[in-house]
């Protein structure tokens, strides 16, 4: 049971990062963006490209960092990948979402995001092929934390968890302490009033997309590190990430973090109770349960 709990937290870290980005976008732009999870795909594949590039340029970078299967090249690639994904997110907004926002209503944006997700997913499949890819083929063995009860963790997952917590903390501090953070939150609450106070709305929207894209890229790379890289990463993660966002409450970064862990833990504990064939339903049963008790999610507020 402890193993399952731990697994849930470790798996949930990736979901938390994805949910953090999504919750910001949903709160700010007020629509359910089903293409957000494809940004994880873009992030994972960009990192793959850069990783190969850096490994080729300098063999030093190809050495693994400590016990992890992550190499120096991959760590560097992560940064580049975050930039690329952030830029992609802004481009998608400019090309599609902004225009739909002006012309249609929320449902149109949701649908446009579905359509966009289809395009991105299949374009990645055409460019990179449909086979499974990995950052590193080495299998890193788990460390035994305790023998009885048997508790195992993989170093990669601990690193993922650590970095996730650090990033979330940074993000929260930024949003709650800095002027920039205040500006962002103001724009999310009341765009017109914020503009009256001199905040550039367009610039804030771009920032949200860049942040969301960057977090998604990080989540994508961690997912690829701990699992594998395929063009359907977006399709597979979109619903657990949505579940995490909704459970935590839209607009709350800490909520996204908690939501990710809740979904991860629930999915792992559920296998103890239900046959594993029902695992895909678990995130939703959680959502329904949470929403029945707290209709705005754990940390969400009533939205206008």
């Amino acid at each position: 049971m402890i193993q399952h709990l731990l697994d849930g937290i470790l798996v949930g870290a990736v979901l938390s990062l994805g949910a953090a980005g999504l919750t910001m976008v949903m709160h700010m732009l007020r629509f359910a963006n089903f293409s957000h999870a494809e940004l994880l795909s873009i992030g994972a594949y960009s990192a793959l490209v850069f990783d190969a590039l850096f490994k080729g340029i300098s063999p030093v970078l190809a050495a693994q960092i400590g016990l992890l299967s992550m190499t120096g090249a991959l760590a560097l690639s992560m940064v580049f990948s975050m930039v690329i994904t952030g830029i992609s997110a802004v481009i998608f907004d400019k090309l599609i979402f902004r225009r739909v926002r002006e012309r249609g209503e929320e449902l149109s944006m949701v649908f446009a995001s579905f359509g966009l997700a289809l395009i991105i997913r299949n374009a990645i499949g055409l460019i990179f092929g449909l086979q499974t890819k990995l950052y590193s083929q080495d299998i890193v063995f788990a460390t035994v934390l305790s023998r009885d009860p048997l508790v195992l963790v993989k170093p990669d997952q601990m690193a993922t968890l650590g970095i996730t917590l650090a990033i979330i903390l940074l993000l929260h501090l930024n949003l709650s302490r800095t002027t920039f953070g205040y500006a962002l939150r103001a724009v999310a609450e009341n765009p017109s009033l914020a503009q009256v106070n001199g905040i550039n709305l367009q610039r804030m929207i771009v920032v949200v997309w860049v942040l969301g894209g960057g977090l998604a890229a990080l989540a994508g790379v961690f997912y690829g590190l701990n699992n594998q890289i395929t063009p359907v990463i977006g399709r597979d993660l979109v619903l657990p990430i949505f579940a995490a966002t909704i459970v935590g409450g839209i607009g709350s970064i800490y909520g996204a973090l908690l939501g990710g862990f809740v979904v991860g833990i629930a999915a792992n504990l559920a296998v103890m109770v239900l046959p594993s064939g029902y695992s895909p339903s678990i995130p939703f049963l959680i959502i329904i349960a949470v929403l029945l008790i707290r209709p705005n999610g754990l940390f969400g507020e009533e939205r206008t």
């Binding site: 359910a32 599609i96 225009r99 739909v100 012309r103 249609g104 209503e105 929320e106 449902l107 149109s108 949701v110 649908f111 446009a112 579905f114 359509g115 966009l116 997700a117 289809l118 395009i119 997913r121 299949n122 374009a123 499949g125 055409l126 619903l239 949505f242 579940a243 909704i246 046959p275 064939g277 029902y278 895909p280 339903s281 995130p283 939703f284 049963l285 959502i287 329904i288 929403l291 029945l292 209709p295 705005n296 939205r303």
Partner: protein
Amino acid sequence: MIGLVSYLVFFATVASILAIAVLGLNLQWGNTGLFNGGVVAFFGAGAYGTLILGGVPQDGQLGGFGLFYPLALLGGMATAGLLAWGVGILTLRLRHDYLAISTFGIAVAFENLMRNAQWLGGGAQGLRGFERPLRAVLGDGFLYNILFLLCVLVLMVLTYRFLETLVASPFGRQLRAIREDETAARSLGKIPARIRLTAFVTGSVILGLAGGLYGTFYAFVSPQDILPTLTFQIWAMLIVGGAGNNKGAVLGAFLIWGAWTASGWALSRFAPIEAQLYTGSIQYILIGLVIVGMLLWRPQGLLPERLVVSQSGRTKT
């Protein structure tokens, strides 16, 4: 020539069945504003319900009651309605996008159930052993397909008429009232929750009808038929055709199903040999572009909702 006609009959049958489903969704979304993300659950309940009630017994499975076909179809519709009633009570009070995700989750849970509970629906192998009605008499050929198409068209027209009447009726006005201004409606003594539930269940019963006809047409249903992609397809049809407009719903069904099948056919016919293996992915990209393009160009759909003015403000002179 005969081949073309035979194919068109087949195509039209599937398009009409899907059109019935879109009509049901139109009642839920277009008229009542309920974002039903789990369309496929009610569709599937109708399909599985009809096949379980009307089929031949299979070992190790529930079902095979061999009921008279119209009863089996009604049974399928009732199953969908019952499921909708339960889901509605739990989730209809939720916000917009939360309702979508919750209903989506119900659909995923339903598919999981049918995939894993082998005693209920045959598991991943699917539910077979269903004989299409009157097949023994009419055989399997062109004649049967034409007659089946006629029956489906009749049902589609009946559903359309029913919904048009509903929308023009006092109940339809109630739906518009709670959609536009719930507080005002409540002040007039209407109970939004009950109205919404009625609309949701009615729409789901229509979805169940479509599902039952679908299962009957293929004489087979499996978890592959009730994946989320069908929800997406039905929604796309409604969005493109025009939410809130029943004619738009039918138009959207034929257009989107036509686009989906025609793009597959065109790619296999005209794409160069080297690209043949990739036509699957290319087709998805084209469909995504169509959806996005449609939303950029005409987000209200091809046939937008006609606003009905029940009484003009002008006094009679």
